[in-house]
Symmetry: C2
Subunit: 398 residues, 2 copies
């Protein structure tokens, strides 16, 4: 099941139960176990915006995601290494997954030049000329000391022609082989997942999954979705990839998604997710509830003594009224961003926990129906438009 | 000792020990006791920026200050009353002191027109025309339900001539009498303190103290200092007022100050303080230590694995390195503002606790000398300039 490399790196994955395509699993890393399906709060620059590690634990986080591109530029991976690695630097002692930075190079930096060797770009922080290669990406993640790492890949804009997609896939595939070589040389780097690209072309996706899976990697990440394509296309591509990926390895759908996307993607066989929505939308005043999202700034909440969501166990819901949170948000108080973020992250993690319980009980399909009915009714009634106003595409660009 | 009004309102003050002019005391309010000298973190709009009530408790806060002007404009005192008062609204169950809003009218609003009746001004929030009178100020604070309240006063700019000061003092004095009338009618309003103005004119200050003290109020607040006058003048005026004020009532020095000001003012007989410095300077990256303030953004801290202050018990110092906090600050992460604020508020409250212990032990004068030597050496060595860069005048204008 696991290769010698994986054992050395203390990584493993076990499937515990299934319900149709949905999966309950357990992942082992050198920083502890986690249960899947799992959502990873996003600590872009080594901090989930506004939250401490103990807030994250209280919210139910098992694993967080950090960003190779951002930490490479600031404070620099050598600084993080010198300070004992990212776990020690940010004081999160659970598992950390890092992406390769490929997506951020494409979405954030200017004047990028792509070649067989790698990519040259100007830092969005200070405009300096920087470069990343597959080898350097592994070296950076090795310095960070994270538990699951990713190879440099090319992220295509949506839409892309099949000629563009084919050329890009071939490059990503060559880069993956170089990454694996570098990973073998790096003594302490975490488990290397393969990224499946292929845009929205079925045949390209199939080809990408096949080529990546022959390499026998410890996990597989589905990239290049939630970048502006229609929702049915995203679901179809997710389903197509998940069906082809090996049963005994975890599948991570990168940068997804909204609460309904999480439920629909778990139903299609996905095990891991990350998204900036909970924290970013909180900063814009959108909070999630079992009855759909709501915009806390609305005047109807000005005298509302109830919590955001009476079923939520978070600090914001246990302690504060909608009226107070609305006031803090309107008055641009720091505490609003913190408390709304705590709530949204808790909502996401509670949703994942509820899905895991339903999978363990064999009631996932019923849970899925109930959740979508209730959440969707709230969302369509009056807030669905606002949700997408706040957050057009799910993947982070800042 | 206490008037019938005070007893009804459950307010009291006992002097426990003295050391020269410095005083150790105990204050009773209907939301519990506190020990003086006490520092009040500033919850301008009903929130100490970035901190929850449980953070404040952990930092050692006994009482907080809120702002009548700000809460009157947003969310409005009627909203706060409807939601059960300010304690319940912001979930702080300890004592709350409110100022009258006089200072904010002068420093924040535009087009103000002052008359015998009160003051008309344009809201800094939405430009609407608003007015405050002595009676309305009491009514607002009654709605907020705070424990110590203040009368509307006129705050003079520094410098002011003695003619201006005399005219202003007379108005403040007439407004105080109207405030006391309104306070007698308000059934639930907290203990009304008298504000002593008088600018930087010794004779005016003496006159102000004499006139105010004849009214037999439960406590006295020294206003109109820390508004740009030289430090020796502030200390002299503080000493002059404190010497004349009755021994058996608490003295509150409004809007002061830096750590050294707190020690020097306690030495001159002050019992209570408030200042936005701990939170505002934190947001600008200045943190306080026993060896003087430091600017966390400095490159020398980029690889510093130690805490801000090894003697500090706060969450930021127990958990995180200077290197990590510097990174968060440089990367403009929300968590930087939160953690640096937690540290600075804790530093201020620990300083007050240390002064109280020294007063109880009879070692206050030795403590004062040691603190000033050590803190001052750090401050003058290299950070004193930065401290005043970050914060020119102590009193808040936003």
């Amino acid at each position: 099941m696991t290769s010698p490399d994986d054992i050395m790196r203390e990584f493993g994955f076990d499937l515990v139960a299934t319900s149709d395509r949905a999966r309950l699993g357990r992942m082992r890393t050198r920083h502890g176990e986690l249960q899947t399906p799992a959502f990873m709060p996003v600590a872009t620059q080594g901090s989930v915006k506004g939250l401490t590690p103990s807030d994250l634990r209280a919210a139910g986080a098992q694993i967080v995601l950090a960003n190779t591109y951002h930490l490479f530029l600031r404070p620099g991976h050598e600084v993080v290494r010198e300070l004992g690695g990212l776990h020690r630097f940010m004081r999160w002692d659970g598992p950390i997954l890092t992406d390769s930075g490929g997506f951020q190079v494409w979405s954030l930096s200017k004047l990028r030049k792509i070649s067989e060797h790698g990519v040259e770009f100007r830092s969005h922080v200070d405009g300096s000329l920087r470069s990343l290669s597959p080898e350097r990406c592994i070296e950076i993640q090795d310095a960070l000391g994270t538990d699951v790492i990713h190879p440099l890949d090319e992220c295509l804009a949506y839409p892309a022609t099949s000629v563009q997609t084919e050329r890009s896939l071939a490059l990503t595939s060559r880069w993956l082989r170089r990454s694996m070589e570098a990973h073998r040389r790096a003594k302490t780097a975490g488990a290397l997942f393969g990224i499946v690209q292929g845009g929205t072309h079925e045949d390209m996706r199939r080809q990408a999954v096949e080529e990546t899976c022959t390499l026998g990697l410890p996990g597989y990440s589905i990239g290049g979705l939630a970048v502006g394509e229609p929702k049915p296309v995203m679901y179809d591509m997710t389903e197509l990839c998940a069906e082809m990926l090996p049963r005994d390895r975890p599948r991570y759908l990168m940068g997804v998604g909204k609460p309904t996307d999480l439920v629909e993607s778990v139903a299609r066989g996905i095990d891991m997710f990350d998204c900036v929505m909970p924290t970013r939308n909180a900063r814009h005043g959108q909070v999630f509830t079992a009855d759909g999202p709501l915009i806390i700034a609305r005047s109807r909440y000005a005298r509302d003594p109830g919590p955001i969501d009476p079923e939520c166990p978070c600090e914001a819901c246990r302690q504060f009224s909608r009226a107070y949170l609305r006031h803090l948000f309107a008055a641009r108080e720091l505490l609003a961003q913190r408390l709304l973020s705590v709530h949204n992250v808790t909502f996401y993690l509670e949703l994942m926990a509820a899905m895991r319980r339903a999978l363990a009980d064999g009631t996932f399909q019923a849970f899925r129906g109930r959740f979508l009915d209730r959440y969707g009714a709230g969302a369509t009634e009056e807030e669905a438009g606002s949700e997408s106003d706040v957050d057009g595409s799910l993947n982070e660009t800042a």
